[in-house]
Each structure stands twice: as structure tokens, then as C-alpha cells.
Symmetry: C2
Subunit: 514 residues, 2 copies
Amino acid sequence: MHRPRRLPLLLLVLIGLLPAVARAQLPPPRFPSPHARPRAGVGGGVGGGYEFETRYFRQRLDHFSFSGEEEFFQQRYLVGRAGGWAGPGGPIFFYCGNEGDIAWFAANSGLVWEAAPRFAALVVFAEHRYYGESMPFGSKEKAYNSSRSMAYLTAEQALADYTVLLTDLKRNLSSESSPVVLFGGSYGGMLAAWMRLKYPHIAVGALASSAPILQFEDIVPDTIFYDLVSNDFKRESLSCFQTIKDSWKELDEQGNGQDGLLKLSKTFHLCQTLNTTGALSDWLSSAYSYLAMVDYPMPSEFLMPLPANPIKEVCRNIDKQPERSSILERIYAGVNIYYNYTGTVDCFDLDDDPHGMGGWDWQACTEMVMPMSSSEGLSMFPPDEFDYALYADDCVKNFGVRPRPRWISTEFGGHNISSVLEKFGSNIIFFNGLLDPWSGGGVLKNISDSVVAIVAPLGAHHIDLRPATKQDPDWLVSLRESELEIISGWLSDHYRARGGALFQRATNDDSAAS
Amino acid sequence: MHRPRRLPLLLLVLIGLLPAVARAQLPPPRFPSPHARPRAGVGGGVGGGYEFETRYFRQRLDHFSFSGEEEFFQQRYLVGRAGGWAGPGGPIFFYCGNEGDIAWFAANSGLVWEAAPRFAALVVFAEHRYYGESMPFGSKEKAYNSSRSMAYLTAEQALADYTVLLTDLKRNLSSESSPVVLFGGSYGGMLAAWMRLKYPHIAVGALASSAPILQFEDIVPDTIFYDLVSNDFKRESLSCFQTIKDSWKELDEQGNGQDGLLKLSKTFHLCQTLNTTGALSDWLSSAYSYLAMVDYPMPSEFLMPLPANPIKEVCRNIDKQPERSSILERIYAGVNIYYNYTGTVDCFDLDDDPHGMGGWDWQACTEMVMPMSSSEGLSMFPPDEFDYALYADDCVKNFGVRPRPRWISTEFGGHNISSVLEKFGSNIIFFNGLLDPWSGGGVLKNISDSVVAIVAPLGAHHIDLRPATKQDPDWLVSLRESELEIISGWLSDHYRARGGALFQRATNDDSAAS
């Protein structure tokens, strides 16, 4: 096991605090998140071609106490143009915002927009507190000022936000009887599933896409994430996998040699000379993890502009280098696909973290403690073990908070989830793509008739939610159709119980992506 | 409608803040709660003859935020002598403490103790935060100091307390797989039902006795409570009902006459001369409401020492007075049964509120807003309408907090509860006795196969939970048996799913009360 070393605060914040292993060799696995400001302006806009209005709701900062000193903040939410909505009593499709700007998630969750007309549903995307424009205390600077100001950045508070917002929205629309279907991907998918469980009176069902609700404590093996990333590379090319696996030692050795850091900086076209090889390792590992998440069979610009099947391309580049190429030259050729597919980058700045989210670092240091290790055998990453004590100490040092590593499973469950939910709860779809390393913490088996798992062996991170494209493979078209059939059943049940079909349902043909 | 008048703060606190009508003619309906300190000492004791150990758990004050300034308090809980427990993996019967000293609820919830041996279950009674000995900040004085210190007195925090306590307790007992059955009566019953819904992974089922989870907003008519109290008197004697109904005008007229307050004070044997007739009206109304709650068919000392069928006795006393008796003399004779059944009281002190609970006043001013009106037609109480604006203003004035009248139904549901729970949730018994005025806010119909209502037409407030007595009518013995059969089914399901019967089950005969 590598001895964890302590990084300076800045770097620690930049690379996130997730697993203690990050301070050894491994970067923190994070969920994908927006790397750019939203394309939509205030008051309305078009995200990914979807038309919506931007609204703000006066939201309570702390739902669970009554200090008498009430704090509120403006929570942003996007509402699709109401033209296609059935009107009062008609369905509402509600996306549970993740750890980032909501416009980005709206642009990347085409399924919600594209399915809405078929059900004459109103589309709502709600932004998560402390992200995007939904900042308590008036600004990000003030919201992120201290542990006192960040105290209310929790999943429970966010779920209560969505619940209060929906309740108010329905009342204002005179639409209290509307069935609400929750959507969410990644952390947003966890929120959608948890919200269906905690607030069944608010929503008739939830599509929880790529939601690793079991990635806590010892519910799943802590090596599963990196094993799955590694497997994505191994399935494309054993030599590619092996080159990456061999590269860490090579990196260390070169870094420790004469002018090693300078040489490494040149090999990898870095803008500035490295201070440690660790920063480079993290940069590489991070690319591999993200590549596994977005290993889609069509070109995408979700995180970075990428070709279809990006891991195949990365491995092809690693493998196809001239025979005399060194391991590190191959590695450089590989990650170029991720960091520079457009070929416009002259040099790379490792400090430039386009996916930086201080908010998620906080969440990882409070509730979202997901232990991550790298196994000696199956992983192409350097072996490392999760060291909780070190992890917790760093949270205290950097944020002034101590994590509660058992809180999530206490609050939301997780252990024996099948037996708990077999007789409790209903109407949840857990989607997972098996290429996605987060699928290791997902629900992969049907739990009951209505708490079901849809698994795509060739799918990556919430591919089902992505906008439809001409290149979508048949299995993807078909699984989206399965999801919508299930949702249709929830809505039919709802209206049947109320004695009538209040919503107009178009034919399936109308639901095709435009 | 009577114009609400403002009472001085002291009186307001004494009579509680529940309905605005309290400030007109009606006292606040409250749940029964302990009027005396527990009989059990620290470290162990016998409450109602049940043997337990007193323990304390270091509980987190705020489960839902992470300010970095962690506050903890000592939460008291009682654990039955473990001799009868099946051991690790065996059932745990967990009582969700109400708004009062837990030893009192333990002494008055005999069913839990008496049923435990039959299932070889471990008995745990957990005290609710801010009550009894479970005081944040080290003392009641400090805990009740201000809205800042009381901020965390909420149902959600209490549910999280129970969840965290149970999770820790099971771990310490190496008994993580133990099935937990929740019990609770009155507010404790609401907590038991909500806990089953919010934390299904913690408990396999809940017996929610006399839990008015629908007594919020407009879910049930706001006149139902006083109508039910009135009906309890009407069914015993129409003339008794009419005498009480006529008495309010009589009270007002006498109070307004020459030396009226002095005369009233003499008629009612008050220790001190009245300042207003309102205080006397409240004292009378309060007695009627409590009488309806504890209208048990056997003698009890739950709130006051009372005979069997106390309303029958009250009405008999009212009706049997000599014909020349005035209305108020009859009324005095009636309430004497409630306030002075033992005949030891020389004079009555209206300020002496044996059921005072500042904590519940706070809860009523934050989450627990239960609108209460008195109807012109069916009620024997003076007509009055719930005035929310006034209610809220008084909460601000007295506690520095503004209520959130819609929060409970937003957080826990309530509207259309049948359709929500028909397809969601399982394993809850809602017991209600129809003599109990709180049954108006209860679940009185089966919702699904496993979310069921047990209704006792002749039962009062959580009579099922009371210790068994020789005088118990057959219907009571039989409905307790039905409840235990259902609970037995939950436990069997649990063990069957785990492939074995780990707990010893005695024969039914063993379960008879000793």
C-alpha cells in the first residue's frame, strides 16, 4: 500500500476530497458535472434546444429546525413552455437537480424533454441548493464562506426543497392532483430514488438513473469502482490495460530521476513544470475514470468533446504508437483523446480543473462518504486502501467538519435493500449501464414488481437520460421505450384510481426525438 | 362567533397555545401526558411493575445540518431486563416516546411489556428529546431558554434520534438483523407511523395507537374533535349534554353580574377568586376533553384517579342533582368526578396545571398546527372558529417563531393518504377507539392488506396499549390479540425471508397478562 501523503490545501480542494486514496495515487471519482456556465440566460432560455422559463422560488434554508431566525434563499428552477401541458391535473416531470448548474443537467437530460409531449407533461428542472445560481446568503462567496454557512448543504435539505417547491408549484397551478414523476441521474438519481422513498405522497414514481445508492460503508466492495473502470479498458484491449497498469511505476521512476519532473512535463506537454509526479498521476487517473463514465457509443460533449466509444479510441492510440515508443509516450497519446480531442490545446494546465466543485467536496466530507480502494489484482490503478481516519482528519482540517460515514445508510437505508424494499415502496426504476463504474454501487436486480432494475450491458453513466440522437443503438432506443412504458403505467394507475384519463396521450410515434 | 380575546402570557402558556379558540372559550385539546415525576429512579427501576434499566445515549442535537459545531445531549432510554430476550437476532419492541417523561409512558403502555415475552422480544422505551431527562444543553432551563435553544424540538429530529439510537443499539448488541417493531400512542403513535414510513429499513412494522396523523390543515373537518367529545356525553345522557351546552351562557351571565366572579368562585370551590370567567370555562372544557380521551370501561389513574366509564359517572352526577339545583351546581357536581374523584381536594386552583408541557406548546407553535373549531350544532362547547392569523401572531409573540401550518403534510403526507399508501408502504396498524376525540384525525379504514385499521367503537385513547386488567372487556382482549397476531405475522415474514425461525415463540397462553 502506498503511504498517503498530504497535499497542500489548494490541490486538495481542486482534486476533491473524496477517497483518501486520492492523496496516494488515485484521483477522487466524481460524478460528471457542468464545466461551463449555462448557456441559458436569466428569465428564459434554450438549453440543448429545449425551451424553458427560468424562475426562482423563495426557499427555506433549514427545513428541520425552527430557530425563529428564518433564512431563505432564491432557488432556481426551469419550467418547460407550458404549451404542451395537459393543464391542471396533468402530469409533471420533475428533475431532481445534481451538484451543479441546473441548465447543464437540463441540456443533458433530453429524455425528460423528449418524453414530456407524449404524456402532455409539464417539465420542471430544479436546481440543487448551493449550486449554480441557487446560493444561500446571496452569493457563492458567502454561501461557501465557512462550515457555518455551508451547514445546510445536505441531501435531506435538498429533498425537502424539492418537496416544498413541488407542493407550492402544484398549488399555484391549481394542480394539486397532478401525478409527479421524478427523474434524476447520478447524484440526482440518488435524490430521485430517495425522494420517492421518503416522500411517496409527492410523486407517483421515480426514474433513478445511474444512482449509486449502495456506494456507502461496506454495502458493496470498496474496490468495485476502480475495478469497473479498469475492466472497461481491459475489454477494449488487454495491452492497453497493461500499458496503463505498468505506467505508474514508470512515472514514479522517471519523476525521481535526474530532471525527471522536467522530462515528464515535456512528455505530457504541460504548461508548467511539475512539482510532484502525484499531480500528473491524478490527472491521468481522473481521465480514465471520467472516460469510463462517458464511454458512450456515440460522440458526446457531456464533459469534453469526445468521439463515440472513447475508451476504444484511447486504447487504439495507446496501442498503435510506433514500437519504439515508451510507455509514457503511449499514455500521453491515449489521454490526448480525453483532454484534447479537438486538437486545439497547446499545453495542459493540471491546476485548471474544469470540473471543480467545492460543494461536492463538502458533501463528501459530511454525508457522502464513499469508500474507494484499488485492488492489487483487477485494477489497472495503483493499489491503495481507503483510510477513513486520514480522510476524516482532512475534512476537519479543510472544512472544519467531521464526516458521518454511517449517516446515509441510517437515513436512507442500503443494507439489505432488497428485503426492505421487497415489501415496502413502489414505482422506482433503477437504470444502470454496466460500463459505468458507478454501476458498482447501483441496484442491478429487480426488487419487486414495481421496484425494478433496467441494466444496459453496453451503457455508460445515465445514457438513458441523454438526448436522443440518430446514432443511438437499438438497445438504447428500446430501453428508453421500456422506461417510458413503465412510467406510462404509473400515470395510468394514477388516473384510473381517480376515475378518468385526464391527460392526453399521444401515439408512440409522437414521442420520437425531434 | 366569540371574539378571541388575548390572555396574559402566563395563562397562555398554562393553557397551551393549540387552537386560537382557546383564547375565546375553548381550552386547547392536548394529548394526555404525565402529571407527575417518574416513579423510577436513575439507573433502573420499576414503572407500572415493569422492570427495566435506565440508560443514556449520546445523541446528536441536529441531524440535518453540519455546522462543524456539533452539539450532543444525553437521551434517556429504558431497556427491559434482557432475561427474556431471544438474544442477537431476536425481536426488539421499540416504543417511540411522546411529549413527556418516558417512565410514565412505559408504565402506561403495558401491552408492550406484556406481549414481549411471547415473542422473546427486547423492550426499549426511548424518551423524546426536550422531555423528561432528555434535555439538550444540560438542563430544562437551558433547553427551554429561547427559540434558538428550542429550535431542534421537532418530530423529524426525534425520528432521527430513534433511528440513530436503534442503529447503534443493534450494533452494540451484535444484533443488526433483529426485526424492530415500533409502538406508540397518541403523538408517540404518530411518530411510530411516520417512522415506519420514513425509515422502513429500521423497523419491520408499527403499531400506531390513537395517532391523529390527519388532524392537520383541512384533511379532516376542524370541528371533529369537539363534536366527538360532545357526542361522548350525548350518548350517555341527552340532558347531561344539554346542561353542559347551556352552562356557558349561564357562566357568562353570572360572571358579568354583581359579585359574579366571587359567586362563581364559591360555586366551584376555587381557592382564589376568579379574574375572568374564561379561566373557569377553560378549566371545565379541559376536563370534558380529557374525560373523553380517558373514557375507559375500567378504573384508571392515567391522568387522574377515575372510575370506570367516567363520563357516565360525570353525567350521572350532573343529572341526579336535586331538581332545584342550578345549571352551574350540576356542572360542579359533574367535574368533581374528574378533578376530585378521591374526594381529597378542598379547593381548586385553576393555575395549577398538572399537565403543563411547555414543549408541546412549542411544537404546536412550529409544526403541530391542528386547527380546532367548535360547531354551532353538534358541539356542547361554545361555538368558535379557528383563527390562524391570531394563532400565528401569538406564536411569534410568545416563542419568537412563526408556525409552518403546512409543513407536517408536506413532510409526512396526509392528503389522499389512502391512495398514496395503498401502493406504498406496509406493516402499519392504526388503532383507534371511537370514544376518543383524537380518533377524528385517525386512520379508520384499511388502506391495504398490511396497512390496516383496527377500530374499537367503545374504546378511548390508546386503550389497546394500556396494561391488561381483570376488568378488561372481551372486545379489548380480543383486539389486542388481533394486533399481536398481525405483529407475529410481520416477525414470521422477517424470519422466513432469512430462512429460519430465530426467535422462540411461546404459546398464546403465555402472553396473558400476569
